[in-house]
Symmetry: none
Subunit: 120 residues, 2 copies
DNA sequence: ACCGGTTGTTCACGTGCTTTTTACGAGTGC
DNA sequence: GCACTCGTAAAAAGCACGTGAACAACCGGT
């Protein structure tokens, strides 16, 4: 039951993969360059995937201190993460906003890929 | 024998599911985006499912203050909830009107899916 | 120590969503 | 028919979120 190499400390979602031991992030097999804050935020989201996480909790987990009133850092870094994830894996939407509640990470398919010919 | 994760703080009705812990709403497994008021109204209805709830009580539960005379907010938000629920789960009718008394939530099957050819 | 590039923080503005309120028409029961 | 209740759309105001950019702090290499 220990045949796997480093599977135990690896978080996955869709074709996204994060090795906690060395902090390596793979998107469909390719390395994805993230900054420290981006990585810690992504890990916080992955460890609670499919659940809504309030900003206060995300900030505590990724920054290690309580969120101050009016601080928008989480929004800014969610945006940075989204940009990189969308560039690396355009077919997925990972981070979902729950208005008034917080964010949720789930590897859902982008409902793009509509037929653009018969637009409105 | 209590291996389940967070089943205890989850309200269900038909294929509808509300996790009280994080406020996530699932309709047939898919996340359903609700606003804060919509969620609190839905929870109030679910906690008294199959019973008729007067507007005054629904307002107190979802808004946290007494209903003022002439306020139609409950009706407006019941309509918003109905719209979203019907979009997500067309085969069910959840919120039922009891004229002069209030609303009741029960996951009944829509007797739609009639043959539309022989309409009245 | 200097320089260039990267990262983290904060601010500002626009946009869209939420909530409240009003209005009017349709439905219901007497 | 009449009075009341409910469904629904929409205007108006407020607020949360998305986003770009400026600035400072940090870091490695020379």
């Amino acid at each position: 039951m220990e045949a796997a190499s480093h599977e135990e400390d690896t978080l996955r979602a869709g074709e996204l993969e994060v090795r906690l031991s060395d902090g390596l992030v793979l998107a469909a097999g390719r390395p994805l360059a993230l900054s420290l804050r981006e990585l810690r935020l992504l890990i916080a989201l992955l460890e609670r995937r499919d659940r809504i996480i309030p900003r206060e909790e995300l900030y505590r987990l990724a920054w290690g201190r309580p969120l101050r009133n009016g601080d928008r850092s989480v929004d800014v870094y969610v945006h940075k993460l989204r940009t990189k994830l969308e560039t690396a894996l355009p077919q997925r939407r990972f981070i979902h906003t729950h208005f008034g509640f917080g964010y949720r990470l789930s590897p859902e398919l982008s409902h793009a890929f509509h037929n653009p010919a018969t637009g409105p």
